[in-house]
């Protein structure tokens, strides 16, 4: 530890100039890098670009829905259908699924383990290249005939639609699936093999527990999606009857295959968010996380139970009533580990030394949105009620609360929490909080009216609608602009910090996980000597030092 201690006590390491950003130069040093940190940064840039593309489609859709009939001359029925398909597909496959695991995860898994890199650095780079390749297929689908099936590709519609982009998009999904599998595989091996001295399974940061659970789902579920979209492509091109009843297939079989992946995928989207919130709540409350084992095991429980609930997407599909009853029961079971986490975060805040920082505001926004998203899931898991609510705006609101409320707010929380570490600059706290409030508020104004609309019977994926729903649609659209503005502001604030932010100390929040022992930004090799891990949520040894506006450890 002695060599490390010289860097611990003072904000800047001995060779401040040499970090992973300045270690080598030129575009090749980025695109062909094996450094997990650079790959993580590239993933973040790419997925955030996808967020803006998907967000552009969202705003176009919401604008079109301002009036019951056609609103924007350019957007007709087919254009609307293509836009909501692209909005969903881009947001799910190019943004939500990769953003936290492949972006923040790639950057922080090895650093939190005190390791120099992931277990398979070349596989890691291959995963990013596959992501780019898959994204190219999506763009091709957009310009080559479009795609109007919804992100769910339900058969036989997707087999028979004249829109020619379907094959390109499904091949894009196939390739992106492998990108996701490679990342998951890498994290599983990394977490198993590269933990440092002192880091037992139950001394692992909860972000790593969350990513470990996520990776298990990615490795086990994604192949099913790959096979499903491959079968769809075979049916569409070679007319082999699999899903299309006109060819002797079974259209509901597709829904079973699709949701066998896509329901666990919901937890690929939300589990990493849980991990980030556990880190933020504990570090910014300066108090040991409450119920560490309950949170860790609830991540695993969600990952495993997540495989057994896909049938709740098929309550109205005509699947057997017995199957619906069983899937309903298991869906309620999965609500409990989610509830445990919320209660544990609250208990962590109780009697804490709470810091009202931007990440803390995002964590609270996350808890509110995830709470509403989770509770409205109870309505949809209850069989009698779901029959009425299925395929209405209630469902749209519910999954946006979970997936956007969950992933987007956790991503922002994580970016603000780790931005000083990643780029060595502090952001503006005031504008950070304004952004957090705008995002949370805008989100609620957008999606809460959709619960009312859905309960009143407004079906989803409607280009035109009955005039009685207009006031709620207008409210939702206003909220969408507010949300869009909040997101923009949050990113601008982070961007400005890169150029005008004050230099960040090694440990600005007093975090006890290993990344806070590494310089800000980390050097190319992360650690010159592998550090020894202690309890990741024991903050007693960290004291605030006004001179560096950061925390230093008294442990030696």
């Amino acid at each position: 530890m002695s060599s490390l201690d010289t860097t611990l006590g003072h904000g800047a390491p001995a060779h401040a100039e040499d970090n992973y950003l300045t270690h080598s130069h030129g575009w090749k040093s980025w695109l062909l890098t094996l450094d997990h940190k650079r790959i993580g940064v590239m993933y973040l840039c790419s997925t955030i670009a996808s967020l803006f593309l998907g967000g552009f489609f969202a705003l176009a859709l919401r604008t079109e829905l301002l009036t019951p009939g056609p609103t924007i001359a350019m957007i007709d029925h087919d254009m609307y259908n293509r836009m909501f398909t692209l909005h969903g597909a881009i947001m799910v496959f190019l943004f939500i699924i990769p953003a936290i695991p492949a972006g923040l995860g790639n950057f922080f898994v090895p650093v939190m383990l005190g390791a120099k890199d992931v277990a398979f650095p070349k596989l890691n780079l291959a995963s990013y290249h596959l992501w780019i390749f898959g994204a190219v297929f999506f763009v091709t689908a957009m310009v080559h005939g479009g795609i109007d099936t919804g992100w769910t590709f339900y058969t036989p519609y997707s087999v028979t639609t004249p829109a020619n982009g379907v094959i390109w998009a499904t091949m894009g999904v196939f390739i992106l699936g492998f990108s996701s599998i490679f990342t998951g595989l890498n994290f599983i091996v990394t977490i198993h093999k590269l933990r440092p001295e002192g880091m037992t399974w139950f001394r692992m940061p909860l972000f790593l527990w969350a990513l470990y659970s996520t990776s298990v789902i990615q490795v086990l579920a994604t192949p099913v999606l790959a096979i499903t979209v491959l079968l769809l492509t075979v049916e569409r091109t070679l007319h082999v009857g699999i899903f299309d009843p006109a060819l002797g297939g079974d259209p509901v079989l597709f829904q079973h295959f699709f949701w066998f992946y896509s329901h666990p995928a919901v937890y690929i989207m939300i589990l990493p968010g849980f991990g980030i919130i556990s880190e933020i709540v504990s570090v910014h409350s300066r108090k040991h996380i409450f119920g560490y084992r309950f949170i860790a095991f609830s991540s695993l429980a969600i990952a495993l139970l997540g495989f057994l609930v896909w049938g709740h997407h098929l309550f109205t599909s005509g699947q057997s009533q017995l199957a619906s009853v069983i899937f309903s029961a298991i869906s309620f079971a999965i609500a409990i580990p989610s509830a445990i986490k919320v209660f544990n975060w609250l208990a962590t805040m109780y009697k804490s030394s709470l810091q009202l920082t931007t990440p803390m505001w995002y964590a609270f926004g996350f808890i509110v949105l995830f709470l509403i998203g989770g509770l409205t899931g109870l309505f949809l898991a209850a069989l009698a009620v779901d029959i009425h609510l299925h395929d209405t705006y209630f469902v749209v609101a519910h999954f946006h609360y979970v997936m956007v409320g969950g992933t987007l707010l956790a991503l922002f929380g994580g970016l603000y929490h780790w931005w000083p570490k990643m780029f060595g600059r502090m952001y503006n706290e005031f504008w950070g909080k304004v952004g957090a409030v705008l995002v949370t508020l805008g989100f609620n104004v957008t999606f809460f009216p959709q619960f009312v609309m859905g309960t009143r019977g407004m079906p989803r994926r409607y280009y035109s609608y009955l005039p009685e729903f207009q006031p709620l649609h207008v409210a939702s659209t206003i909220g969408a602009y507010l949300l869009g503005f909040g997101i923009l502001l949050a990113f601008v604030n982070l961007g400005v910090a890169l150029f005008r932010g004050r230099k960040a100390p090694t440990n600005p929040w007093g975090g006890a996980t290993l990344e806070w022992q590494c310089a800000s930004p980390p050097p190319h090799d992360n650690f010159s000597v592998t550090p020894v891990a202690h309890d990741p949520y024991d903050f007693a040894h960290l004291k605030y030092d006004e001179k560096i506006d950061g925390y230093t450890s008294r442990r030696s």
């Binding site: 029925h77 028979t160 009843p245 300066r286 709470l371 309505f379 019977g457 989803r460 024991d538």
Partner: protein, 325 residues
């Protein structure tokens, strides 16, 4: 179960034929039970939301500290953790049970239900009654269980009647069913709830609930159109009933299919480059073999009506077309 729920209902929930803030009117026997389960979950959700959000806000205000403050002491309480595992577990089990019983009630049609066959096709519904009468809106008697036996001719649709709180996917290549017993007379909207392409959002129809006695009158009137009406009137009724107007206009505006305005005797350029004059045989073959001679600029999307329209119907439609100048 029904009596228990019923007695609780009258006290807890504003039930009735008027739309409430959250719900459309309750117009079927099962609507009240669905709404009861909804409100049960709703109040649990309101309780937990208020509790957790206010606790979170209070903690953020009460325990806010300066950076110089030392780290707070760790805490753990196994009894508390077990409590907030077990209590949500019990609540979830209750919700599951109420959802299950409500589901079984709404999915077990009585044996004496009146059967209507339903066909979904892009982008129209068609309802066939036991005597062979076909209509594009669903007509049912009040206070009588009705069972819909449904299939689709192309892609998956879903028949959704919000006022009855019932919904069921309509799947090609198999039959699915849903049932209800209307308790209110009047008209209620039918939506297609499963995305089915271009005009998914216009695949709307309505269910007309007739007072007792009126339904049989409607049915016998609807069944004998050729006796009751002139061929032109019958033709006009047929194209409306069979959903033709979803894709064909009579005012000259092009839609998914060509407009019928001035169709009679018109020269049409076909997709294969040849041309044809619209006469009796072209109309007949376009209805029975719609993909054979497609007008240039339109897609091969029309379903066949072979076996669904009789020769007499075609004659009436031809007579109607002649009037569209």
């Amino acid at each position: 179960m029904n009596t228990l729920v019923g007695s609780m209902l009258s006290q807890l929930v504003i039930a009735g034929s008027e739309a409430s803030y959250w719900f459309p009117p309750q117009a079927s026997t099962t609507a009240a039970e669905v709404d009861w389960v909804y409100y049960f979950i709703y109040w649990i959700s309101v309780f937990f939301t208020v509790m957790i959000v206010s606790a979170g806000l209070y903690f953020m205000w009460r325990f806010r500290s300066k950076k110089t403050a030392g780290a707070a002491a760790a805490a753990h309480n196994t009894a508390l953790e077990v409590t907030w595992t077990v209590v949500p577990g019990i609540l979830c089990a209750c919700i599951f049970y109420f959802g299950l019983t409500g589901y079984m009630d709404t999915h077990t049609p009585p044996d004496d239900a009146y059967v209507v066959n339903v066909t979904g096709v892009k982008w129209a519904w068609s309802f066939t009654y036991p005597d062979g009468t076909v209509s594009d809106t669903l007509h049912v008697p009040v206070h009588r269980p009705v069972r819909l036996v449904m299939t689709s001719e192309d892609v998956i649709h879903s028949l959704f009647i919000p006022a009855f709180r019932t919904k069921q996917d309509v799947v090609p290549g198999r039959y699915t069913e849903e049932w209800f017993e209307a308790t209110e007379t009047g008209e209620f909207t039918i939506f297609c709830a499963e995305f089915c392409g271009t005009k998914h959002s216009e695949m709307l129809s309505k269910v007309v609930v007739h007072p007792e006695g009126d339904f049989t009158k409607w049915l016998s009137a609807a069944g004998n159109i050729h006796e009751r009406m002139s061929p032109v009137e019958a033709g006009e009724l047929l194209v409306k009933q069979r959903g033709c107007m979803q894709c064909h206009s009579t005012d000259g505006s092009p839609s998914t299919g060509p407009s019928w305005k001035g169709i009679w005797g018109r020269g049409e350029k076909l997709a294969d480059g040849s041309s044809v004059t619209v006469d009796e045989n072209y109309i007949r073959s376009s209805i029975f073999q719609p993909q054979a001679q497609i007008v240039a600029g339109y897609g091969p999307v029309m379903p066949t009506f072979q076996g669904k329209l009789k020769d007499r119907d075609i004659t009436a439609i031809i007579e109607y077309f002649k009037t569209l100048k």
